[in-house]
Amino acid sequence: MLLKMENIGKIYESKYQRCIALEEISLEVGVNEFIIIMGPSGCGKTTLLNILGLITSPTSGKYTIRDELVNNMSFKKKANLRNNLFGYLLQDFALIENDTVINNILLPMKYSDKKFLLKTKEERAKGLASSAGINTKLNQKVKNLSVGQRQRVAFCRALINMPKIILADEPTGSLDSQNSEELIKNLLEFHKRGNSVIMVTHNLEYANIGSRLITMKDGHIEY
């Protein structure tokens, strides 16, 4: 099993309030799965995705990646897993606006423990950009790109380290139908190559494109 969660809970606590975001979540993600997570706003979808992607830690429960317990992992090891195992796609693309397209695409490679030659890195980035149709924009700043182009840059960045899993948090949320279709097509293609995708979405159209659908409500998995 690639990822395994057992009775995961997450509570956000502040001085004035206590919010239970996730409660007793158990989930298993195998190799070559396409999981769609749906549910109303505030039900804990993004929190679940953040815990899966090691961006945040659970308050309780056990989370294992390739049979290794995450709770015992060092910060460095977690950072390595974020870098090598996962690719991220977010609703607003999470790109560095003032930097160039090529630098954005290459960003995960800067933190990779594998040493690449600069030429190899650039060739790989150019290859991905070319297949996404943004090879002419490589030296442009992200802030000058259209929404569709940004989405492609984000996708190239997610793929640059050849991850095994893509975590997508409402990736089509700010895209028009044409760009959304294109993105879903790319994700399906990534899945076909033997990788896994976990996608959070509100769009019912995409409910059936995955191999599994998870519906969440009030911090629980409904079914």
Partner: protein, 332 residues
Amino acid sequence: MKQFICALKDCRHRIIINILLSIQIFIMSIMISGITYQSYISFKNYSYLYKWNKDKDSVVFDVYINTQKPGSFEKSIYALQEVLSGGEYSSGFSFFIEDDNIYLFGNWQNINEFSTIPFLNINENEKKLDRNIDTILAGQSIYSTKDKNIYLSSSENLMENQHLINTKNFVQIVSNLNLFSPPEETVDSFVNQINENTIFLTIIPKKLEIKIDKMISDFCILIPPICFLFLTIIGVLCILDGTYKKKSREYAIHYVVGASESDILMRMLFLFNIISLPGVILTILTYNMGKFETIVFLQGLCIYAILFICSFIPSLIHFFKNTNKATFLRGD
């Protein structure tokens, strides 16, 4: 290295502000170094002198120089000779420093202990050797600030070799003059002779105890530089806080794609150093015209530590207290 480059990029839009802040830190450090260094050296010497000569009722002199009235000091040299090495009363010492050498004057017969003289740390054998010298003084001495060794290589009477004494050295001798339990009339006579014969110089005698008390109150002049330091701390704090907030989304993106907590922390630390270190380093390098002084280095280190504790740590705590890694990706 990559975090250093990122930190450089973080502050490239604030180059002017950073340069101005470095200048502010530089001026502040120079002010603090200048005042504290001079005051510290004088205070240390006088305190030492007082410690060993409590019962001797020492007299020192405040010296005022009038550059508008140039004149010679030759006539006054005899008055100095009288109190230092000749005459009925001669119990005191003085010195001047030139080219890392200390030239020491005094009548050793009337000075019982070498330890009565600040900065002088001669071992027992040397003490015996020099006890035989009737009138000291002289010596081309090798002076090292580190271990405070003085080597008296000869015993010629410098006061008679007047060609070695120029106006600058003469002022030093008078400024550094310490008389042990002098009779009142000797002091009056000496002061009158110096003030009358040396028109560019006015001296006022002062009891050592009073002088030290005044020096303590003189440390009040440190208040403006301390206010300046406070303003600098606020400046650095505001710049760091603003940059960290502005860059929080970028930090989050780096974190998500593989940066660890220590990478982010390192980047923040580099940013702090890029803002605060140039001013401090510039002070250490330029103060005393490039000569390395331990005390200036320590002062620079203190200023850096104060900025680190009062600016960097609060802005870091503020950043991490108000920023949740899971949510700071969402907002700009």
